[in-house]
Every structure is written in C-alpha cells, then in structure tokens.
C-alpha cells in the first residue's frame, strides 16, 4: 500500500504540490490526469524518493520514504518507474539493459538474471531484440524495454510517468497495450497520462490534478461522465 499524506513540495517560490492525500492499495490501477505543471509527475518522483518533499509523508508498505534512516536504494527495488524519456542505456544491448540491475543490485547470478530478462522481454514482445542495441530500435520498442527493465526487479508497484508522451502517435498503441496487459495481470500501478481513453479503460480510480491540488478522484465512469470539479469539466472539454 502506498499512503500519501498531506504532501507538500516547492521548487523555489513555486509550490507544485499543495497538500496531496492519496492511498493506493495493492492491485489497484490509479491514473492521474491533469494539465502540465499540475504536479502529477512530481508526485511520482517523490514516491520513489528521487525528489524530496517539504511536508507530509509518503509511506510505502509501512516504510516512510523520506524518513532519515530509510534505505532508498532498497526501497526502490519494489517501486519500478518508467519515464517519458526512455532512458535506455545506449552502451548495453537490450538484454544487458534488463540484466544490469538484477545482477548489480539484487546480486543475482548472470544465468538467473538472463532467464528473468528473457522472460520479461518476451512478455513485452521484444524476444527477438535481445542482442540489439537500443539505438537500433523505435521509441515504442525502447519504451517497452524500459518497462521490462523495471519489471525484472520484480517490483510490487509500477509508476508510469507519461510514458507515451515522447512517442510518435503510431507507436503509442503498442506501449499502452503493454500497460493494459500489466493492469490485467493485477500489477499495482500509478500512471500519469494524457491518454484519456486508456485511463477510462484500465483505471480503478482516476485522479485529476490541478495546480498542485488533487481536485477530484473517482472511478473512471464517474470522473469522466459526471465530473464535479469545474476545472476538470474545462479540462475534459478541452481534451475531447
């Protein structure tokens, strides 16, 4: 369970998170929508401790992420994250990209890590790309590799930060299909996205962020078909 309690975060003068309260249960798929600058991506990087917070707390399975004694490197093993930029490691083949962290961080043997990597890469449809360098692949393939790389750590939660925003339109579908598959397998996921159709389909709940505030949270049919917040109404009208 991920518990977010009254989290505040500022970059200089700009307060990007103004007291967020949110709980994500095991097996839940939560999507976060909202305009740019609404704080939604910042929240994800606060959850895995890449960003600090100014007030409140975030607790993952009983561990306070930003508490002093917390071993973030250990905590991050259970929080997979995929970014908008694919962040493929260009000097490693696809297989090596996925094997690196399991070997160096989890201390798995090469054989063990390779078996896991092949499994995850097959899962995202890249079984035929194992020996290829990322520069030889499309953005959609690189992004699916990044997903497999995160999954190879056997995380309990997956965080997706606008993973289709940097993709050519014709490549968005293959990545969303991968996310749908993970959702259907019961992975606990928080997805920041601009893909409304996708959000409606896969989410248990959808949260709408506006100017650092979570303005509304509800099951998708409720949030999309009967939005209460006036900002959300404007936002949905603009995206349709």
């Amino acid at each position: 369970m991920i518990e977010i309690e009254n989290v505040r975060k500022s970059f200089g003068q700009l307060e990007v998170l103004k007291g967020i309260n949110l709980t994500v249960k095991k097996g839940e798929v939560l999507t976060i929508i909202g305009g740019s600058g609404s704080g939604k991506s910042t929240l994800l990087t606060c959850i895995n401790g890449l960003e600090t917070i100014d007030a409140g707390r975030i607790v993952v399975d009983g561990t306070d992420v930003h508490a002093k004694g917390t071993d973030l490197n250990k905590l991050r093993r259970k929080l997979g994250i995929v970014f908008q930029q694919f962040n493929a490691f260009p000097h490693l083949t696809v297989l090596e990209n996925v094997m690196l962290a399991p070997v160096k961080v989890l201390g798995q043997s090469k054989a063990e890590a390779e078996a896991m990597a092949v499994k995850q890469l097959s899962h995202v449809g890249l079984a035929d790309k194992l020996k290829v360098y990322p520069s030889r692949m499309s953005g959609g393939q690189q992004q699916r590799m990044a997903i497999a790389r995160a999954l190879a750590m056997s995380p309990a939660y997956m965080l997706f930060d606008e993973v289709t925003s940097a993709l050519d339109p014709q490549l968005v579908g293959e990545v969303l299909d991968t996310l749908r598959m993970l959702a259907s397998e019961g992975m606990t996921m928080i997805c920041v996205t601009h893909e409304m159709k996708f959000a409606r389909e896969v989410s248990d709940r959808v949260a709408f962020f506006h100017k650092g505030v979570m303005a509304e949270i509800a099951p998708p049919e409720e949030l999309f078909d009967a939005p209460k917040d006036p900002e959300l109404q404007t936002f949905l009208a603009a995206t349709h």
């Binding site: 250990k74 961080v105 990322p134 520069s135």
Partner: protein
C-alpha cells in the same frame, strides 16, 4: 654552400640501440597513460564529489598541468623535488612528470565527456535501486570513456612525444636519450635525429591505428 656529407651507414648501425630506446619510450608513455588515466578518474570523482577541498585540489591540478610547460613539470619532478630531499631517477621523474601532465588533460577531457551524458541516465539507474557509485560505474563511466576515447588517444601520442623531454633531466635510455648520446659521440646529428624522428612518427601512427581498431571493436553501439 652545403658541404655536409651524409654518413647513413654509421647511423643505421646504431638502429638496434635506437629501437631498444624506442621500447623504453613506449614503456614510459604507456605507464604514464595508465597512471594518468587512474589519477584523471580520481580527479573527476573529486570534482563531482561536491566536497570543496577535493574539487579545489582537482581543479588546481588540472589548471597547473594544462597551463605550464611540460618541460617544467618534468624538471620539477627531478630537480624541484630533489630540493626537498625527494630524489627521483631520471626515468621515474620523467614518468611522474608526464603522468602529471596526462592526468590534467585527461581529467578535463573526462569533464567534457560527462557533460555529453544526460542526468536522466543516472536517474534511471538510481530508480533501479543503484547507489550513486553503481550508477556512475555501470552507466555513466562506460559512456564517458567512449566519448573520451579518441581525445585520450591524442594524449597518448602527446605522451610519446613528451618522453623526448627526458634528455633534459639526464634520461639516456629512451629513444631521445640514446639518440642524443650517439650524436654526442659522432656528431652525425642530422642522420641520427632523422632516424629517431621516423621511429617516433611510426610509433605515433601505430598507436593511432591500434586505437581506431580497438574503438571499432569496443564501441559497437
């Protein structure tokens, strides 16, 4: 009016001696690069550490190494340290002087290469549970070395040529030293130094060629 008559035979007889000297030259250049690379890496980490004393030390090293004559650096290693009771042989002093110079240039080279690698690479590594050092070692460093490789090759060539400065501290076993001694005995200056120059040229070219082949094999992405 040119009245100089060439005596190439005499010079060619000394070729085996000169080739032995060339080996010493190559040995010093390689060792100075190995030491220089290791120190440059340490200086780079110092500069990244955020510790003011460490990064100040590294910056000082780089500034001195790059903005003073290599000849002075070698002189300092031999005569300068000698004033403080640290007596280095000509061989060691030459090695230390060139390694000092190499480290400065290579550290600056590494700094430029680091700028070419986006922060998001480190973030991606940290997100997978890596420590800062692991992310540097397995993700940033290999990419940095690729970017820095060809400029480092230039430094290797420069190191080979710098070894000839050893004659000023009494070095007499490397190519320049051997050539200088042969010259002093025979006064066939042109012949000996022309042959030595060709040997330097061939070594430098060979190093560049080997580096290219190595890079083509190593960096396939």
């Amino acid at each position: 009016m040119i009245s100089y008559s060439f005596h190439w035979n005499q010079a060619f007889k000394a070729l085996p001696q000169m080739l032995d000297g060339a080996l010493v030259t190559l040995q010093i250049a390689i060792l100075s690069m190995v030491v220089g690379l290791a120190v440059a890496l340490a200086l780079t980490l110092f500069r990244l550490s955020g510790n003011r004393a460490l990064s100040g030390f590294a910056t000082g090293w780089v500034e001195i190494a790059r903005n003073t004559p290599a000849l002075f650096q070698i002189y300092m290693a031999h005569f300068g340290l000698g004033n403080f009771g640290i007596h280095l042989s000509p061989y060691t002093a030459l090695l230390v002087g060139i390694a000092f110079n190499n480290a400065g240039y290579l550290a600056e080279n590494f700094r430029g290469a680091l700028k070419a690698i986006p922060d998001t690479q480190t973030r991606a590594g940290r997100s997978l549970g890596m420590t800062p050092l692991q992310a540097f070692r397995y993700i940033v460093l290999p990419q940095m070395l690729r970017v820095a490789f060809l400029p480092a090759t230039n430094q290797m060539v420069w190191a080979i040529l710098m070894t000839s400065l050893g004659v000023t501290v009494g070095m007499n076993t490397d190519l320049a030293g051997v050539t200088q001694e042969l010259n002093a005995r025979s006064f066939r200056t042109f012949e000996f130094f022309a042959i030595a120059a060709v040997i330097y040229y061939l070594i430098a070219k060979a190093v560049t060629l080997i580096a290219r082949l190595f890079a083509a094999r190593m960096f396939r992405y």
